[in-house]
């Protein structure tokens, strides 16, 4: 079913009309496709490494290179996912304190505290638990074992970081499935794979989201 742009849906869906509207079913399906795709990218290298070492033990160094290559593919994908919540290197925006005040008004105290430590806003949704940053969001699926990483942003120059986060949070609250449809999926995989690539504060937030998801 194409993305629904009717009343109640995000107007931004009109820009991605060809995408099926996200749902629990489509997210589970997407997760499986990512797992298959990851296996298709890595298993051939692992098999080739094993076959080479078995046929000619002298080729073991080449097998090792193949294994490193397979491992690098896994890590690169996870790093791509982690990048969606990585903060760009820049100085503090002059209007950040004002924007932070508005964002603080939108969330409760526990979420405010987590944001102060991690710069990510935790938001419980129907599809899972979200962590919203200034240029992307993580969706920890029920059970906490799989995470989807989305690239999504406000294409406006010079907005303070907390304003960017508030934009995404309000869009998410307006239409969660629409938000997951509009956003570009950068990575879907095991939570532990992503955790290793995240900066320490974001790891804290991911752990909090996974715990929240498991407790539902």
């Amino acid at each position: 079913m194409p993305a629904d742009t009717s009343a109640g849906g995000l107007p931004e869906l009109a820009a991605v009309y060809w995408r099926p509207r996200a749902s629990n079913r489509t997210l589970t399906h997407t997760g499986r496709l990512w797992t298959l795709s990851t296996a298709a990218h890595t298993v051939p290298f692992v098999v080739a490494a094993g076959v080479l070492a078995w046929l000619k033990p002298v080729l073991a160094p080449i097998s090792l290179v193949l294994l490193v290559h397979a491992w690098a593919i896994l890590e690169l994908y996870a790093a791509r996912g982690a990048n969606v919540v990585r903060r760009p290197l820049r100085g503090e925006h002059r209007a950040e304190p004002v924007a932070l005040g508005l964002l603080g008004d939108l969330v409760d105290r526990g979420v405010r505290d987590l944001h102060a430590r991690t710069r990510l806003v935790l938001e419980r949704g129907r599809l899972g638990t979200w962590l919203v940053g200034e240029r992307g969001a993580l969706l920890v699926r029920p059970g906490g074992r799989r995470v989807h990483c989305y690239c999504v942003k406000v294409p406006e120059p010079d907005l303070p970081p907390s304003d960017r986060t508030a934009h995404l949070l309000l869009a998410l609250r307006t239409d969660e499935a629409g938000f997951a449809t509009v956003a570009n999926l950068a990575f879907s995989g095991a939570t532990w794979r992503l955790r290793r690539r995240l900066p320490a504060p974001a790891r804290q937030a991911l752990e909090a989201a996974a715990q929240r998801t498991r407790s539902v």
Binding site: V98, L100, L106, Y150, D158
Partner: protein, 85 residues
């Protein structure tokens, strides 16, 4: 006869735009001030014409996009469109 004292001041509602300054209050009104409401409605329409979307809180973790100014809402927030990165 003196008018009955008002038990409570009318609540001030705000139309806020998220922008480069953090946020800007575009309009303020109270339910008992028709002229302020008119000004707020005009400002609201002008912002929508500029490409902003208006959102009001609809309970915990929920928000609703509105196309007409909800006069009884305490806070209406104007946001820019989002896009996949």
């Amino acid at each position: 006869m003196e008018p009955a004292p008002r038990l409570q001041e009318a609540q001030v509602s705000r139309l806020v735009r998220m922008d480069q300054t953090g946020h800007t209050t575009v309009a303020e009104w109270t339910a008992d001030d028709p002229s302020a409401i008119e000004v707020a409605i005009a400002a609201f329409r002008a912002e929508l014409d500029q490409g902003y979307f208006a959102v009001v809180s609809a309970g915990e973790g929920q928000a609703e996009q509105v196309r007409d100014l909800p006069v009884d809402a305490s806070l209406v927030i104007l946001r820019r469109p989002i896009a996949g990165g």
